[in-house]
């Protein structure tokens, strides 16, 4: 904490810069706090003071006295803990300083006390970042009695500190410190500007006097308005020379100005009350004040008011001409916003003269020497006022920028300065803006570069919006000067018209592709932007890349962008947060123009290959999904390719630095990112399996042209050829998966096999047969089995086959076997019936139907299929199944909806959901996010600062809290580091990382699955068993939450078929269980448990059970929250959790609810059991 180097904060407290000035009392108090008993020092001082002063003072002293003793008690133990007594010079502790203030406040009329305060006590106290409220009485006393300005200034400072740290609501007193006269403090601070300026000392008195009564903000308003009233209308100042005029002004006007400044700055901090006309009135008076800060605040208030009531503001404002010469930058920024608001206001539609006047001011601000003002004006022109994004606004912003002309009004000629004169000629806005931006990009200042790139990004947004709205008449090849000339021409006709800026609608095409077309200007700007990638600062580069992404149009080639991004991402300096920001930008870009899906996927691919460990895998996969869905039908093939091309890339070469910038090379230099890459590849394989059918629009149940049986007689080679000619997308996906199933890593092979099964089930012939053959070969091991000895060495469990996948494949093959067998049987039956000319009997139909249902159940174990459409017995079975009067079975699924949904998934329905990745995307799109950045755990140690917070432990973070933070930052820093079981259960259970169009399935099937689970018991249940008997999304306890995202069919009533497991905890009928382990409550709402205790489980929230005990525990509590893992369900006594290994996540999911209840009920013998 305290460094011994001699120049630390602690040293400042310790050392006395001017030791000679110490008064005896001070030195004794400071140097030996223990010996100078405050109890002995204080009464004398008090006795003297109280006797002399007024009764009011006596009251204050009383408060102070109480506070003092309380504070002393509260402080001493803390000090003992926090002050290691290792130095020779004892530091002056906070409590000592506090005591000194209390003492000196009592003698504040003495000069020596004042000097003490100013030179020693106050500056040292400042080192403690904040002060506690127990000092307030003394400070208030000083405020009332001390004459010395420096002392007073410090008093105001500390009062403000007390207030800002505790919030104006007062604070809950820790350690019994009485909170005195709180409102008085609040008021002093609120009108701090007034008190500080010390122009109206009376106000302070008045305030403190009034504040003891119940007061509110109304009074503050009254006071402030009262001051402004006194200020009145200032005499007309000399035009255009602000500040200078003030110097020569008379005393009275200066006092007025000061008052005005103080009152306005207080007013600016008060909540704006648009209903109060006084606000507007005084703010507008403030604009013409000669105090620059007052002008700034005045403009600030006015521009804020203008957003609510532009009409009133515009009417109240007069001409704004000389405002342009304000030398306060922020004032001009407010001016730009004001002009923008008014010139766009609907309510001013009839007063186009006013609007154009403000518009003209806004355009003139484009010429502002300050980048801040100019950029603000550009953003206003572009239609970016606040965080709300309105496409129409943006589009018309782009229109404005490309079309409109800045023509300086004649009025400016009389005050034309040198820089104005050269701009006399009407200038197209776009040219001005481009020139300005280009020159900004040559700046050396990083903030300027960053801001310029941001402006370009916003420009890209507006441009994208214009394209999205199909603004046909924006022709970027148009020569911009044509507008200017046209406007000149018009201008001569109606030169009397006050409007100085006007639109022209004439478009002249066939302009030469010179520099003066919009396209030409843009190209030259983008050239400059691209060179900015060379900036040293990674944040600037990120902004540049975002700008490039936004300026990228769907039609242009993006090779350049691609190589820029690829080379950028190879730079290890990029922090993960920044990369994710760029990734989110891709989302936003996609939302703005869905045509770019393929391009964006290509870019996303670079992220997946270059920085797998840093990007948020969920967000990346969400991007895959949305882009795939959003791509035009022709583009789906390419979109799928873009995602899965990862699978074709050569694996990363460890340590190789060559070809670093090549797009087609995976870089995963450290183990962590290699692991993440692995996960991403798994996710890509999974994605391919889930979505290939969608992308290829090839479904077994939709096959319009059922292949003739002849096709099935072909040998393998011809079959592949036939397949690829039939549907190249699916065929290439198959090829890829097959390759993965052969030569990927163990995990990838597993997933590839699963993906292949999914595709086999969903696709029609010949794909199914092709996959079947392949899987069969894979399961048998083929030639590989002969060499299995060689492969033994790689540490894998070879399983029953050469590929090691035999165990996994056998149930898959079994399903397909059964399907084919049943199909054969069916055909045989049909032939028999045909030959015998027999009708189908009911029994036969029933048998057929049962087979159909059984197969459906079996198939549903592996992937989702629409039950009403899917015909496991082949297309010919359709008629027969239809004949049979199926028992009315609640099937929450409308298959038409499936396809309808698949067709327009890209709609907003997808964007308003709940999954964490969705939240992140939505938050980004909304421009939100001011929360603190996560920092790596090694930096999470509290900084060795001696700020008050750390020292005095008042708001010091408790260790437990810090650990939590650690866990959190660790968890979200990379997708693969979240190994914690709790988090997986509570939040990641939804498995939303898996972008599958089929990841939804009516949960009514859960029961079906449960019954059929017995068919292959040997393959299930083991740790890491690759067969997901229960895909995680459906066993999620908080399924409801993700339902809307995962299952767009939820609206169709499928929610009512909540799986029984869900009902267990969510339906409100309590479950009984017993505590497995001891649990100690960590908070008020938690409940301590003793192992073995009987509990009643009420419901679950975020990984916690709300449980009730039979009898109150030691702490007397009956009910409260416990972690889900602590109590056991009565019926699931054997917590033999099956662990579902979900690809893409490293999280092992403990699926406690599919634990083997049958072992309890069936004694291990009968494998079938009724679903709970």
């Amino acid at each position: 904490m305290a460094d011994s180097s001699g120049t630390t904060l602690m040293d400042l407290i310790t050392a006395d810069p001017t030791p000679t000035q110490k008064s005896s009392s001070a030195s004794s108090a400071v140097a030996s706090p223990a010996s100078a008993s405050p109890a002995s020092g204080l009464p004398t001082a008090l006795g003297k003071v109280v006797g002399e002063k007024k009764s009011k003072r006596a009251a204050l002293m009383q408060i102070q006295n109480d506070t003092f003793s309380a504070a002393k008690n509260a402080l001493n133990p803390v000090r003992a803990n926090l002050m290691p007594q290792k130095q020779k010079k004892k530091p002056v502790s906070y409590s000592q300083l506090a005591r000194r203030i209390h003492e000196l406040a009592a003698t504040s009329d003495q000069r020596s006390s004042q000097r003490q305060l100013v030179q020693h006590v106050f500056p040292k106290l400042a080192v403690y970042n904040s002060v506690d409220p127990s000092l307030a009485p003394s400070l208030l006393m000083l405020n009332q009695q001390c004459e010395d300005r420096t002392v007073l200034r410090y008093v105001y400072y500390y009062l403000a500190r007390i207030l800002s740290d505790n919030g104006s609501q007062g604070l809950t007193t820790g350690g019994g410190i009485p909170t005195p006269n709180w409102d008085a403090l609040a008021d002093i601070d609120a009108v701090g500007g007034v008190t500080r300026a010390d122009v109206v000392p009376r106000i302070v008195e008045q305030l403190t006097a009034e504040a003891t009564n119940a007061d509110s903000e109304c009074e503050l308003y009254e006071i402030v308005f009262g001051i402004l009233e006194k200020v009145g209308t200032p005499p007309k100042r000399k035009k255009g020379i602000l500040g200078v005029g003030a110097k020569g002004g008379d005393k009275e006007s200066i006092i007025r100005t000061n008052l005005q400044f103080a009152a306005l700055s207080a007013l600016r901090r008060l909540p704006i009350d648009p209903g109060n006309p006084a606000f507007l009135h005084y703010a507008i008076l403030g604009i013409s004040s000669s105090d620059p800060v007052a002008v700034r605040h005045g403009l600030g208030i006015v521009s804020e008011l203008a957003t609510r009531d532009p009409y009133a503001v515009a009417m109240a404002l007069g001409a704004l001409l000389d405002v342009l010469h304000l030398h306060d930058v922020l004032a001009r920024v407010s001016l730009a916003r004001l002009c923008c608001t008014i010139s766009r206001a609907r309510s001013l539609d009839e007063r186009s003269d006013i609007r154009s006047q403000f518009n003209s001011v806004l355009y003139q601000l484009l010429l502002d020497p300050s980048e801040k003002v100019c950029f603000e004006a550009i953003l206003c022109v572009l239609g970016k006022y606040d965080n709300s994004e309105r496409t129409e606004e943006r589009a018309s912003g782009w229109y404005r920028l490309t079309r409109e002309i800045l023509k300086l009004p004649d009025a400016s000629s009389k005050e034309s300065s040198k820089d104005k004169s050269k701009n006399k000629r009407p200038q197209p806005l776009i040219k001005l803006v481009m020139r300005r931006l280009e020159s900004s990009f040559r700046s050396f200042s990083r903030p300027v570069l960053h801001a310029a790139a941001r402006v370009v990004q916003e420009m890209g947004k507006s441009r994208a919006a214009a394209f999205a709205l199909g603004m046909q008449d924006i022709d970027e090849g148009t020569h911009i000067n044509t507008f200017a000339e046209a406007s000149d021409l018009n201008d001569s006709d109606e030169s009397t018209h006050p409007e100085s800026v006007r639109r022209t609608s004439s478009i002249s095409n066939n302009a030469s592709a010179g520099r003066d077309t919009i396209a030409g200007l843009l190209a030259s700007l983008m050239e400059v932007v691209r060179t900015t990638v060379a900036c040293e600062c990674v944040y600037v580069r990120a902004m540049v890349i975002k700008a490039l992404i936004w300026m990228q149009s769907p039609v242009d080639s993006f090779d350049e962008l691609e190589s820029i991004i690829a080379s950028e991402l190879s730079d290890p300096a990029w922090p993960a947060a920044l990369l994710n920001d760029v990734l989110l930008t891709l989302h936003a870009r996609f939302k703005a123009s869905p045509d770019m899906a393929v391009t964006l996927l290509e870019i996303a691919r670079i992220f997946a290959t270059k920085v797998p460990g840093k990007v948020d895998a969920d967000v990346l996969q969400l991007l895959w999904k949305t882009c795939l869905v959003g791509a035009v039908p022709d583009g789906k093939h390419k979109a799928l390719e873009a995602v899965t091309i990862v699978l074709d890339l050569p694996p990363p070469q460890p340590g190789s630095m060559l070809g670093f910038t090549s797009v087609d090379r995976v870089s995963a230099s450290d183990p962590k990112s290699a692991l993440a890459l692995q996960k991403l590849v798994q996710a890509a394989v999974w994605f391919l399996g889930e979505n290939a059918n969608y992308a290829a629009s090839e479904y077994a149940w939709e096959s319009s042209t059922p292949p003739g049986t002849a096709l099935m007689m072909l040998d393998a080679d011809k079959m592949v050829a036939a397949a690829s000619s039939r549907n190249p997308t699916l065929a290439s996906a198959l090829t890829r998966l097959q390759r993965c199933a052969f030569n990927g890593s163990w995990e990838i092979r597993i997933i590839a096999a699963q993906a292949l099964t999914t595709m086999a089930i969903r696709s029609g012939e010949p794909f199914r047969l092709q996959i079947y053959e392949f899987l069969h070969t894979l399961a048998q091991g083929g030639l590989q089995s002969q060499f299995s000895d060689i492969h033994l060495s790689n540490g894998e469990d070879q399983g029953a086959s050469g590929t090691g996948l035999g165990v996994l494949l056998s149930p898959m093959i079994k399903v397909l076997d059964e399907m084919y067998k049943a199909q054969d049987d069916l055909i045989k039956e049909i032939r028999n019936h045909d030959n015998a000319k027999k009708e189908w009997t009911d029994d036969e139909l029933k048998k057929l139907y049962e087979t159909h249902e059984r197969l459906l159940d079996l198939v549903s174990l592996f992937c989702y299929v629409p039950r009403t459409k899917y015909l496991p017995l082949g297309p010919i079975s359709g008629k027969l199944i239809d004949i049979y009067p199926a028992p009315a079975e609640p099937d929450g699924l409308d298959d038409d909806l499936v396809n309808a949904w698949a067709a327009n998934l890209g709609d907003d329905g997808l964007w308003g959901n709940n999954a964490p990745a969705m939240n992140r995307v939505n938050e980004f799109l909304a421009g939100a996010g001011t929360d603190a950045p996560e920092v790596d755990e090694e930096n999470m140690i509290s900084r060795p600062s001696v700020s008050y917070d750390d020292m005095w432990a008042k708001t010091l973070l408790e260790p437990s809290e810090m650990e939590e933070d650690d866990a959190r930052s660790l968890g979200s820093s990379s997708p693969d580091s979240t190994g914690s079981v709790e988090t997986s259960i509570s939040s990641h259970f939804g498995g939303m990382g898996y972008p599958s169009l089929f990841s939804s399935r009516p949960s009514s099937q859960t029961t079906d699955k449960a019954t059929s689970r017995g068919s292959g018991p040997s393959t299930y249940g083991g740790y890491g068993s690759p067969i997901r008997e229960e895909p995680p999304p459906y066993s999620s306890p908080d399924r409801q939450r993700y339902e809307s995202f995962e299952n767009p069919l939820a609206g169709n009533g499928s929610q009512s078929f909540g799986s029984p497991d869900d009902e267990r905890v969510s339906s409100g009928n309590p479950q009984f269980g017993s505590a497995l382990y001891d649990f100690t409550a960590g908070g008020d709402d938690e409940l301590s448990l003793t192992a073995g205790e009987e509990v009643e489980i009420e419901y679950e929230v975020d990984g916690w059970f709300y449980v009730k005990k039979k009898r109150p525990g030691r702490d007397g509590k009956m009910a409260g929250l416990v972690p889900v893992l602590y109590p056991s369900m009565k019926r699931f006594t054997n917590h033999h959790a099956s662990v579902v290994c979900h690809p893409g996540f490293s999280r092992l999911k403990m699926v406690a609810n599919i634990s083997v209840a049958e072992e309890v009920e069936g004694g291990g013998g009968g494998r079938r059991y009724a679903p709970p």
């Binding site: 040293d11 500056p123 801040k372 960053h450 944040y539």
Partner: protein, 147 residues
């Protein structure tokens, strides 16, 4: 809104910090983030050279002045350029109080006055006074404009 103003020394110890509208539980994150940012980037930076960073919709501008590094965090209207203005005012006030680019010792000697200056420059999350002379007068509780 100016979310935070933070002064740190060379070792990354925080000398002064002022947060506005930042929840207490996030302050620790900001502190570590800013100090790390400085440690990564301020090596070899020139005095008063402005550096920039951003996090989501929050902007950060920081610089080094003598032995002291200064960080300003803002959002909304306080974007990187507005923060540059803020940091410019702060650096010039600090230089004014200390007479030159401060060593840590000098900075700590003038600690109280620097706090007062900061109080005048950033008030409740908004930039208040920008002129050097004005600030000088205000910290002595003199009216902003002299008669």
């Amino acid at each position: 809104m100016i979310l935070a103003v933070l002064f740190a020394n060379v070792e990354g110890n925080i000398l002064i910090e002022r947060f506005h509208g930042v929840p207490a539980e996030e302050r620790l994150h900001w502190r570590s983030f800013l100090v790390k940012l400085g440690a990564d980037n301020l090596k070899g930076a020139k005095n008063e050279e402005l550096l920039v960073a951003c996090h989501k919709s929050v902007y950060i501008v920081y610089t080094v002045l003598g032995d002291v590094s200064i960080y300003v965090v803002g959002k909304d209207e306080y974007d990187e350029l507005a923060l540059s203005e803020v940091i410019f005012v702060i650096t010039s006030a600090v230089k004014d109080v200390c007479g030159k680019a401060p060593t840590e010792r000098l900075f700590l000697d003038k600690y109280g006055r620097i706090c007062l200056c900061l109080d005048e420059i950033v008030w409740k999350g908004y930039l208040e006074n920008t002129e050097k002379d004005r600030i000088k007068r205000l910290i002595r509780l003199k009216p902003p404009t002299e008669f």
